[in-house]
């Protein structure tokens, strides 16, 4: 396991890692809001359920993490296959929310993989720096109820199970038209909070699980450093000229994976240059489109370990349910990342480049 820390330090210096992770931890403005206004979510809730009436607390799920004051310890388990090799990550974390948009996640003990004290401390620093991203994007959540109702079906199992002392309704969420994974979630009907969420593959094998081991609606915030948005990205209007804000014009994809809509467009700086980050959502899942523009004279390396493999080349990575496309086109570096099939991501990438 010494490789763990060595590898991380080889890849990037700690400060830069934290900076990049912090950028990712920056909230996606507009998350949870649809691009176009639609009818009131509750009016369509019936359409998303498979046969039975929708649970009345469905409307509360999108806003619950920021609207409800709570605290507790969560256990996180991730079983991902990275390029064909299984990997497991398991750890505890403590989470608090004051119900007014302020929150914090404090990393706890890592169960798997085994780590030295030094490795665990370094890993905790990384985890803490991206707690905002965890809170908003890592866990299962209905982010846009209207889009969710269009793209997902809900099945109420009728079961009531207790999680961390709270009785939760067990629901199953599946993408209409099929997807590589689906979710089973234990929802607190009173608050709309997700007490436990499991992501499973088509064969029913567990992919990930996040669950409360302790939970309270009357948290003690003594000594807890709550925060809102640590970093505020620059909002972009991708339909207009973005040169003034980030130095280049964003290539906006014209073909999106089915059911996805633009949620937000933001400008970031990773310390070496400006990036545009477009986030698309289908109500639950998200696809990210990132682009940066290299100054003239930079880029073009072709060494096997170089990130930049030359113009009109695309590298494809697979990490669990995630597919990552990474390419360079003339002076533009583009990254597309999402839980959708490779063909859809390639189509999306091409539509931006062409």
């Amino acid at each position: 396991m010494k490789d763990l820390l060595d590898t991380a330090l080889d890849r990037c210096r700690i400060a830069r890692c934290i900076g990049l992770l912090a950028l990712c931890a920056a909230p996606l403005g507009g998350c949870g809001s649809s691009v176009d206004a639609g009818p009131s979510p509750g009016s369509n809730a019936q359409n998303a359920t498979a046969g039975s009436p929708p649970p009345p607390f469905l409307d509360n799920i999108p806003d619950a993490p920021t609207r409800v004051a709570y605290g507790g310890q969560r256990h996180v388990l991730v079983h991902y296959t990275v390029a064909g090799a299984p990997s497991t990550l398991e750890y505890d974390e403590n989470v608090w929310s004051d119900g007014h948009g302020n929150f914090t996640i404090v990393p706890g003990q890592v169960t798997s993989p085994p780590m030295t004290t030094e490795q665990a401390q370094f890993f905790a620093i990384l985890q803490e720096s991206r707690d905002g991203f965890f809170y908003r994007h890592r866990d299962f959540r209905i982010r846009d109820l209207r889009l969710f109702l269009q793209n997902w079906s809900v099945s109420d199992t009728g079961q009531q199970e207790t999680v961390a002392g709270r009785v939760g309704s067990v629901l199953e969420f599946r993408r209409i038209g099929g997807a590589a994974t689906w979710y089973r979630a234990w929802i607190d009907p009173q608050t709309g909070l997700v007490l436990r969420a499991e992501e499973r593959d088509a064969g029913g094998q567990l992919v990930s699980r996040v669950e409360f081991s302790t939970f309270t609606l009357t948290p003690d915030f003594t000594g807890v450093a709550l925060h809102g948005d640590r970093f505020a990205p620059t909002p972009l209007d991708s339909l207009t000229d973005t040169t003034a804000k980030i130095g280049f014009q964003v290539r906006v994809p014209s073909i999106l994976p089915k059911g996805y809509r633009l949620e937000s467009a933001e400008g970031l700086n990773d310390g070496t240059g400006n990036w545009a980050r477009l986030a698309y959502g289908d109500g639950v899942e998200q696809v990210f489109f990132l682009e940066t523009h290299l100054p003239p004279g930079q880029g073009g390396g072709t060494t096997p370990t170089d990130v930049d493999i030359g113009p009109k080349s695309v590298r494809i990575f697979r990490v669990g349910p995630w597919t990552v496309l990474q390419g360079r086109f003339n002076q533009d570096r583009v990254i597309v990342l999402g839980k959708v099939d490779e063909t859809s991501l390639l189509r999306m990438l091409k539509s931006a480049i062409h």
Binding site: L290, I309, I316
Partner: protein
């Protein structure tokens, strides 16, 4: 009552430069003001010169023009009223002097003005049309007139049906062209990977862009930062 120089000169203009015996205040002012006395003399000289010019009768057509102008909204009346409402300014002494130096009989309108007036008088209808037709509200032609024109007009004007067919054909052509362009663009977006890009499937995260790596680490709960790639 003592008159000011401005009031005295306005009175002199009304009297054509010659004060009447009852204008006691004006006479008193002229007795003490040499400049106004000179203004009175110059004004009287100009008035006398102009009054000596032969009178010319106004053209009979002028009455019609005046009536037409009045029908156009009494603009002239309002303009004259506005001008009369303005305060009068005294004529500068230099201008008055020049007027006295000019022989009145030599003063005449430019030749082009004579010609334009003459043309208007000879063809009043055309002149009236030029001046007022442009201000008329446009009205659509009656349907019966259109029908008659289409009946007697040459074929290209009459064949509305043919024109409609041609327009429809042009529209369909445009739609087909637009559809073709759309299909080409869409085809470019949907083409196989090997057609547009060189696609490489990576079995390691070593070549992952730092930005993509950090984003993926956040989405995976930190999995990519635990050295998972070493197990490959």
């Amino acid at each position: 009552m003592t008159l000011s120089c401005l009031e005295s000169r306005e009175r002199l203009l009304d009297r054509r430069g010659v004060a009447r015996p009852e204008d006691l205040d004006l006479l008193a002012h002229l007795d003490v003001c040499g400049e106004c006395a000179g203004f009175a003399r110059r004004t009287a000289a100009v008035s006398e010169s102009l009054s000596g010019l032969p009178r010319r009768p106004a053209p009979q057509e002028l009455d019609g023009l005046v009536v037409a102008a009045l029908q156009a909204g009494h603009r002239q009346d309002r303009a004259v009223g506005g001008l009369r409402g303005l305060s009068r300014l005294p004529v500068p002494a230099e201008l008055a002097g020049r007027a006295l130096d000019v022989q009145p009989r030599d003063a005449r309108a430019p030749a082009v003005l004579d010609r334009l007036v003459d043309e208007d008088l000879r063809d009043q209808t055309a002149a009236m049309a030029r001046r007022f037709a442009g201000r008329l509200e446009r009205r659509p032609a009656p349907r019966v007139l259109r029908d008659r024109l289409e009946h007697f007009a040459p074929a290209p004007l009459r064949s509305t049906r043919i024109r409609r067919i041609l327009l429809a054909a042009a529209g369909v052509t445009l739609l087909l062209a637009a559809g073709g362009v759309w299909l080409l663009v869409r085809g470019a977006g949907q083409g196989g990977p090997d057609r547009d890009f060189e696609v490489r499937y990576e079995s390691s995260l070593d070549a992952l862009d730092p930005m993509a790596r950090s984003l993926l680490a956040g989405l995976s709960g930190g999995l990519v930062d635990t050295g998972a790639k070493r197990r490959l």
